[in-house]
């Protein structure tokens, strides 16, 4: 990583442009980030970016913001982190605010209603596809399958608090892995 002083404005502009052209966030953002911050600006190389994506999967928050904060902080400290992450969220704030205010005026227009209903159907299809991919990635053995079913039961039937559920899944994951290691089930 070269540490020539990167102007704050260029951190802001680069991340603003990535935020403004990516649809869907997360993985959809990767190619755009790569072309902007690896190929064009050479702030980090592609390998570092891919590593970062893997990390983004296990740290809290929106991946785009994680990447922006990380690069901004490494280039220009706290101010850099602020400029880069504000840059990546600014387009969303502007666009969604405009659309929401229009939507309040247009939500009774029959064409808008039909278009939104059509989009919802497509969004269901896209989400089904994403969930299918998540199932393949997340349910890797009998233990994770049982955890998954147990979680479904606790949510659907007992409406358990989400935060308690996530925190206990961390504890359970660590305990189960430890027990398995001690019994020599894996590694």
């Amino acid at each position: 990583m070269n540490n020539n002083k990167v102007p704050l404005s260029s951190l802001f502009i680069s991340f603003f442009s990535v935020g403004a052209i990516t649809f869907g966030g997360g993985y959809a953002m990767l190619p755009f980030l790569e072309s902007e911050i690896c190929d064009k600006k050479k702030w980090i190389n592609s390998n570092e970016l891919f590593d970062f994506y893997a990390i983004g999967q296990c740290t809290p928050g929106v991946i785009a913001i994680n990447v922006a904060t990380y690069i901004g902080y490494n280039k220009r400290g706290v101010l850099g982190a602020i400029f880069a992450s504000i840059g990546v969220i600014a387009p969303s704030i502007i666009i969604i605010t405009i659309i929401s205010s229009l939507f309040i005026n247009f939500q009774n227009n029959e064409y808008v209603i039909s278009a939104i209903s059509g989009i919802k159907v497509v969004v269901c299809a896209i989400m089904s596809h994403t969930i299918y991919k998540l199932i393949k990635k997340s349910i890797v053995d009998k233990t994770t399958f049982v955890l998954f079913l147990l979680a479904l039961l606790l949510i659907f039937v007992f409406s358990i608090n989400i935060i308690i559920l996530i925190l206990s899944s961390i504890v359970i994951g660590i305990i189960v892995k430890k027990v398995k290691r001690n019994l020599n089930y894996d590694k």
């Binding site: 913001i65 969303s92 955890l147 660590i174 892995k177």
Partner: protein, 183 residues
Amino acid sequence: MISDIFLLYFEFFKIGLFTIGGGLAAIPFINELSITYPTWITSEDISNMIAISQSTPGPLGVNMATFTGFKVAGVIGGIVASIALASPAFIIIMIVSKYLKHFNDKWYVKDAMYGIKSVVLALIIFAVSKIFIYTLFNIDFSIKYLELSLYLLFLILYKFIKIHPLYFIFAGALTGILFKLPT
């Protein structure tokens, strides 16, 4: 109004802190907001929110935060909710920045992820099941046949045609207008 803004910041900070692995994981929390604060956002709003957030640029989570914040407290609300969502990541990444290179290889991170992934998956399924029901079924649980057939058609097309999802969003909007789909 002021107290709403503080509450918005607090709630979206919490969402930012517990959203692990992408925007979809924020949906269960926003669902919960609709129960805790019925005046903020309704289930109907949430399905509109997801449709709009998917069809506009930017990270899904940030779009949903802006949408909810805007509904609650106008432009300021949208800004506050998005910054709140970003805050935990911002703080955490700066703190762990030095150790990040090997963060992924730590055994406790891997073990924790092992447990979290399947539970977050269950949470996502719970959250989106409501959207599926609203979109594909009527209030009396009878099937919306037209919507269901279009859903199956798009599901197959999406699986086999590798083009940008945005084209599908456009196609969905046009199909909706063409078939005069109701709410």
